[in-house]
Protein backbone atom coordinates (compact mmCIF):
# COMPACT_ATOMS: atom_id res chain seq x y z
CA UNK A 1 0.00 0.00 0.00
CA UNK A 2 1.18 3.47 -0.79
CA UNK A 3 2.86 5.77 1.69
CA UNK A 4 1.07 8.31 3.81
CA UNK A 5 0.97 11.91 2.65
CA UNK A 6 4.11 13.76 3.78
CA UNK A 7 2.11 16.43 5.55
CA UNK A 8 1.77 13.87 8.34
CA UNK A 9 5.26 14.92 9.42
CA UNK A 10 3.67 18.05 10.83
CA UNK A 11 1.77 15.89 13.28
CA UNK A 12 4.90 13.87 13.99
CA UNK A 13 6.58 17.10 14.98
CA UNK A 14 3.60 18.04 17.17
CA UNK A 15 3.50 14.63 18.81
CA UNK A 16 7.23 14.34 19.47
CA UNK A 17 7.49 17.99 20.49
CA UNK A 18 4.65 17.59 22.94
CA UNK A 19 6.17 14.41 24.30
CA UNK A 20 9.52 16.12 24.73
CA UNK A 21 7.85 18.96 26.57
CA UNK A 22 5.94 16.60 28.81
CA UNK A 23 9.13 14.74 29.67
CA UNK A 24 11.47 17.65 30.12
CA UNK A 25 9.41 20.38 31.74
CA UNK A 26 9.90 20.67 35.46
CA UNK A 27 6.52 22.09 36.25
CA UNK A 28 4.25 19.08 36.36
CA UNK A 29 1.31 21.10 35.09
CA UNK A 30 3.25 22.22 32.06
CA UNK A 31 4.18 18.62 31.50
CA UNK A 32 0.51 17.68 31.42
CA UNK A 33 -0.22 20.34 28.84
CA UNK A 34 2.73 19.03 26.86
CA UNK A 35 1.15 15.60 27.07
CA UNK A 36 -2.09 17.02 25.77
CA UNK A 37 -0.21 18.49 22.83
CA UNK A 38 1.48 15.16 22.17
CA UNK A 39 -1.85 13.35 22.32
CA UNK A 40 -3.31 15.82 19.89
CA UNK A 41 -0.45 15.15 17.51
CA UNK A 42 -0.94 11.42 17.91
CA UNK A 43 -4.62 11.86 17.11
CA UNK A 44 -3.54 13.60 13.91
CA UNK A 45 -1.32 10.64 13.08
CA UNK A 46 -4.27 8.32 13.60
CA UNK A 47 -6.15 10.43 11.10
CA UNK A 48 -3.36 9.92 8.59
CA UNK A 49 -3.33 6.23 9.37
CA UNK A 50 -6.85 6.08 8.06
CA UNK A 51 -9.00 6.03 11.16
CA UNK A 52 -10.78 9.29 11.88
CA UNK A 53 -12.96 7.54 14.43
CA UNK A 54 -10.03 6.48 16.56
CA UNK A 55 -8.56 9.95 16.14
CA UNK A 56 -11.78 11.50 17.38
CA UNK A 57 -11.86 9.07 20.28
CA UNK A 58 -8.25 9.88 21.10
CA UNK A 59 -9.06 13.58 21.27
CA UNK A 60 -12.28 13.01 23.15
CA UNK A 61 -10.95 10.67 25.79
CA UNK A 62 -7.27 11.50 26.08
CA UNK A 63 -7.17 15.23 25.45
CA UNK A 64 -10.60 16.07 26.76
CA UNK A 65 -10.75 13.47 29.49
CA UNK A 66 -7.54 12.03 30.83
CA UNK A 67 -5.31 15.08 30.61
CA UNK A 68 -8.05 17.24 32.07
CA UNK A 69 -8.44 14.74 34.90
CA UNK A 70 -4.70 14.93 35.48
CA UNK A 71 -4.78 18.68 35.67
CA UNK A 72 -7.63 18.39 38.09
CA UNK A 73 -5.66 15.98 40.22
CA UNK A 74 -2.66 18.30 40.21
CA UNK A 75 -4.84 21.13 41.38
CA UNK A 76 -6.26 19.04 44.18
CA UNK A 77 -2.90 17.57 45.17
CA UNK A 78 -0.49 20.27 44.24
CA UNK A 79 3.09 19.95 45.32
CA UNK A 80 5.71 21.49 43.14
CA UNK A 81 8.07 21.92 46.03
CA UNK A 82 10.65 19.29 45.18
CA UNK A 83 12.90 19.47 42.24
CA UNK A 84 12.61 16.84 39.62
CA UNK A 85 15.30 14.23 39.43
CA UNK A 86 18.88 15.41 39.70
CA UNK A 87 21.44 15.13 36.95
CA UNK A 88 22.71 11.75 38.15
CA UNK A 89 19.23 10.38 38.03
CA UNK A 90 18.73 11.79 34.57
CA UNK A 91 22.00 10.37 33.38
CA UNK A 92 21.17 7.00 34.84
CA UNK A 93 17.88 7.09 33.01
CA UNK A 94 19.35 8.19 29.71
CA UNK A 95 21.61 5.16 29.46
CA UNK A 96 18.95 2.42 29.45
CA UNK A 97 16.48 4.51 27.47
CA UNK A 98 19.08 5.38 24.86
CA UNK A 99 20.14 1.78 24.73
CA UNK A 100 16.60 0.62 24.30
CA UNK A 101 15.96 3.18 21.61
CA UNK A 102 19.13 2.27 19.77
CA UNK A 103 18.60 -1.47 19.86
CA UNK A 104 14.96 -1.47 18.90
CA UNK A 105 15.51 1.25 16.30
CA UNK A 106 18.30 -0.73 14.75
CA UNK A 107 16.10 -3.80 14.71
CA UNK A 108 13.29 -1.84 13.14
CA UNK A 109 15.46 -0.48 10.39
CA UNK A 110 16.83 -3.91 9.65
CA UNK A 111 13.47 -5.59 9.67
CA UNK A 112 11.29 -5.76 6.63
CA UNK A 113 7.53 -6.00 6.71
CA UNK A 114 5.32 -7.49 4.10
CA UNK A 115 3.24 -4.54 3.07
CA UNK A 116 -0.05 -5.82 1.75
CA UNK A 117 -3.11 -4.36 0.18
CA UNK A 118 -6.38 -4.21 2.03
CA UNK A 119 -9.22 -6.60 1.62
CA UNK A 120 -11.48 -5.39 4.40
CA UNK A 121 -13.00 -1.96 4.63
CA UNK A 122 -12.34 0.99 6.93
CA UNK A 123 -16.02 1.39 7.44
CA UNK A 124 -17.08 2.36 10.90
CA UNK A 125 -20.03 -0.02 10.75
CA UNK A 126 -17.67 -2.94 10.35
CA UNK A 127 -15.73 -1.83 13.41
CA UNK A 128 -18.93 -1.68 15.40
CA UNK A 129 -20.07 -5.05 14.19
CA UNK A 130 -16.76 -6.69 14.99
CA UNK A 131 -16.67 -5.00 18.35
CA UNK A 132 -20.02 -6.46 19.31
CA UNK A 133 -19.70 -9.86 17.62
CA UNK A 134 -16.11 -11.05 17.29
CA UNK A 135 -14.70 -9.16 20.24
CA UNK A 136 -17.81 -9.26 22.34
CA UNK A 137 -16.17 -10.83 25.36
CA UNK A 138 -13.32 -8.36 25.36
CA UNK A 139 -15.77 -5.54 24.97
CA UNK A 140 -17.85 -6.68 27.90
CA UNK A 141 -14.78 -7.34 29.98
CA UNK A 142 -13.55 -3.87 29.23
CA UNK A 143 -16.84 -2.39 30.27
CA UNK A 144 -16.63 -4.33 33.52
CA UNK A 145 -13.09 -3.06 34.00
CA UNK A 146 -14.29 0.50 33.44
CA UNK A 147 -17.09 0.04 35.92
CA UNK A 148 -14.67 -1.36 38.45
CA UNK A 149 -12.32 1.51 37.79
CA UNK A 150 -15.07 4.01 38.39
CA UNK A 151 -16.18 2.38 41.61
CA UNK A 152 -12.63 1.82 42.73
CA UNK A 153 -11.63 5.39 41.98
CA UNK A 154 -14.52 6.69 43.99
CA UNK A 155 -13.77 4.40 46.90
CA UNK A 156 -10.08 5.22 46.95
CA UNK A 157 -10.47 8.93 46.51
CA UNK A 158 -13.35 9.16 48.93
CA UNK A 159 -12.49 10.38 52.36
CA UNK A 160 -13.11 7.80 55.01
CA UNK A 161 -15.73 9.52 57.13
CA UNK A 162 -15.13 7.49 60.30
CA UNK A 163 -11.38 7.69 60.50
CA UNK A 164 -11.10 11.12 59.02
CA UNK A 165 -10.76 12.87 62.38
CA UNK A 166 -7.05 13.45 62.19
CA UNK A 167 -7.25 15.44 58.99
CA UNK A 168 -5.93 18.94 59.01
CA UNK A 169 -8.12 21.91 58.33
CA UNK A 170 -6.40 22.36 55.03
CA UNK A 171 -7.43 18.91 53.96
CA UNK A 172 -10.95 19.45 55.06
CA UNK A 173 -11.09 22.52 52.89
CA UNK A 174 -9.79 20.47 50.01
CA UNK A 175 -12.35 17.75 50.54
CA UNK A 176 -15.03 19.87 48.98
CA UNK A 177 -13.39 19.39 45.64
CA UNK A 178 -13.46 15.64 46.00
CA UNK A 179 -17.00 15.31 44.86
CA UNK A 180 -16.14 17.17 41.72
CA UNK A 181 -13.02 15.09 41.32
CA UNK A 182 -14.83 11.82 41.60
CA UNK A 183 -17.51 13.10 39.32
CA UNK A 184 -14.96 13.92 36.74
CA UNK A 185 -13.25 10.62 37.15
CA UNK A 186 -16.52 8.96 36.50
CA UNK A 187 -16.72 10.97 33.34
CA UNK A 188 -13.39 9.82 32.06
Amino acid sequence: MDAVHPSAWAFVVVALGGALLSVSLRNILHAIFGLALALFGIAGLFLYLGSPFVAAMEVLIYVGGISVAMVFAVMLAYSLGKKEGGSTRRFLAVVPVGGFFGVVGYALLRASFAVTSKTGSWDLKLVGRKLLLDYNVVFEALSVVLLLAIVGAIIIARRDEKTGDDKTADEKAASKGNDAASAEERAS
Partner: protein
Protein backbone atom coordinates in the same frame (compact mmCIF):
# COMPACT_ATOMS: atom_id res chain seq x y z
CA UNK B 1 5.73 8.37 5.40
CA UNK B 2 6.00 4.64 5.39
CA UNK B 3 5.53 1.98 7.98
CA UNK B 4 9.05 2.17 9.39
CA UNK B 5 8.73 5.91 9.88
CA UNK B 6 5.64 5.42 11.97
CA UNK B 7 7.33 2.66 13.91
CA UNK B 8 10.27 4.92 14.61
CA UNK B 9 8.01 7.69 15.78
CA UNK B 10 6.23 5.25 18.04
CA UNK B 11 9.56 4.02 19.33
CA UNK B 12 10.66 7.56 20.08
CA UNK B 13 7.43 8.19 21.96
CA UNK B 14 7.87 4.98 23.88
CA UNK B 15 11.45 5.89 24.78
CA UNK B 16 10.35 9.31 25.96
CA UNK B 17 7.64 7.72 28.06
CA UNK B 18 10.13 5.33 29.53
CA UNK B 19 12.50 8.17 30.30
CA UNK B 20 9.68 10.01 32.00
CA UNK B 21 8.82 7.01 34.13
CA UNK B 22 12.43 6.58 35.12
CA UNK B 23 13.24 10.18 35.97
CA UNK B 24 10.05 11.74 37.25
CA UNK B 25 9.51 11.80 40.94
CA UNK B 26 6.05 13.25 40.79
CA UNK B 27 3.40 10.54 40.60
CA UNK B 28 1.58 12.30 37.81
CA UNK B 29 4.85 12.43 35.90
CA UNK B 30 4.88 8.65 36.01
CA UNK B 31 1.33 8.61 34.73
CA UNK B 32 2.32 10.85 31.87
CA UNK B 33 5.09 8.46 30.93
CA UNK B 34 2.72 5.54 30.98
CA UNK B 35 0.23 7.34 28.79
CA UNK B 36 2.95 8.13 26.28
CA UNK B 37 3.99 4.50 26.14
CA UNK B 38 0.40 3.38 25.67
CA UNK B 39 0.01 5.81 22.84
CA UNK B 40 3.20 4.61 21.22
CA UNK B 41 1.69 1.14 21.26
CA UNK B 42 -1.50 2.52 19.74
CA UNK B 43 0.45 4.10 16.91
CA UNK B 44 2.17 0.82 16.26
CA UNK B 45 -1.11 -1.04 16.13
CA UNK B 46 -2.69 1.40 13.75
CA UNK B 47 0.43 1.58 11.59
CA UNK B 48 0.58 -2.16 11.18
CA UNK B 49 -3.13 -2.10 10.63
CA UNK B 50 -2.73 0.45 7.88
CA UNK B 51 0.22 -1.13 6.09
CA UNK B 52 0.32 -4.83 6.85
CA UNK B 53 -2.89 -6.36 8.07
CA UNK B 54 -5.54 -7.30 5.57
CA UNK B 55 -8.52 -6.49 7.73
CA UNK B 56 -8.25 -2.94 9.04
CA UNK B 57 -11.07 -3.15 11.57
CA UNK B 58 -9.05 -5.20 14.03
CA UNK B 59 -6.35 -2.64 14.67
CA UNK B 60 -8.88 0.07 15.31
CA UNK B 61 -10.69 -2.12 17.79
CA UNK B 62 -7.50 -2.84 19.65
CA UNK B 63 -6.65 0.84 19.79
CA UNK B 64 -10.12 1.52 21.13
CA UNK B 65 -9.53 -1.06 23.83
CA UNK B 66 -6.24 0.59 24.67
CA UNK B 67 -7.93 3.93 24.98
CA UNK B 68 -10.62 2.48 27.20
CA UNK B 69 -8.08 0.76 29.40
CA UNK B 70 -6.02 3.91 29.60
CA UNK B 71 -9.07 5.81 30.78
CA UNK B 72 -9.74 3.25 33.50
CA UNK B 73 -6.09 3.19 34.47
CA UNK B 74 -5.93 6.97 34.64
CA UNK B 75 -9.00 7.13 36.83
CA UNK B 76 -7.59 4.60 39.26
CA UNK B 77 -4.12 6.09 39.20
CA UNK B 78 -5.37 9.58 39.83
CA UNK B 79 -7.51 8.50 42.74
CA UNK B 80 -4.53 6.66 44.18
CA UNK B 81 -2.42 9.76 43.72
CA UNK B 82 -5.06 11.83 45.48
CA UNK B 83 -5.29 9.50 48.44
CA UNK B 84 -1.51 9.19 48.63
CA UNK B 85 -1.22 12.94 48.60
CA UNK B 86 -3.77 13.15 51.37
CA UNK B 87 -1.91 10.63 53.48
CA UNK B 88 1.59 12.03 52.96
CA UNK B 89 1.01 15.63 51.88
CA UNK B 90 3.20 14.84 48.93
CA UNK B 91 2.88 13.33 45.48
CA UNK B 92 6.57 12.52 45.33
CA UNK B 93 7.54 8.92 44.72
CA UNK B 94 10.47 9.10 47.11
CA UNK B 95 8.27 10.17 49.98
CA UNK B 96 5.94 7.24 49.56
CA UNK B 97 8.30 4.69 51.07
CA UNK B 98 6.16 3.29 53.84
CA UNK B 99 4.02 0.24 53.57
CA UNK B 100 1.83 1.46 56.34
CA UNK B 101 -1.02 3.81 55.77
Amino acid sequence: MTLSHFLLVALALFALGLYSVLTRRHLIGLLIGVELMLNAASINFLAFDRFVVKDPATGQIIVLFIIGLAAAEAAIALSIILSAYRAHRSADVDDLDELKN
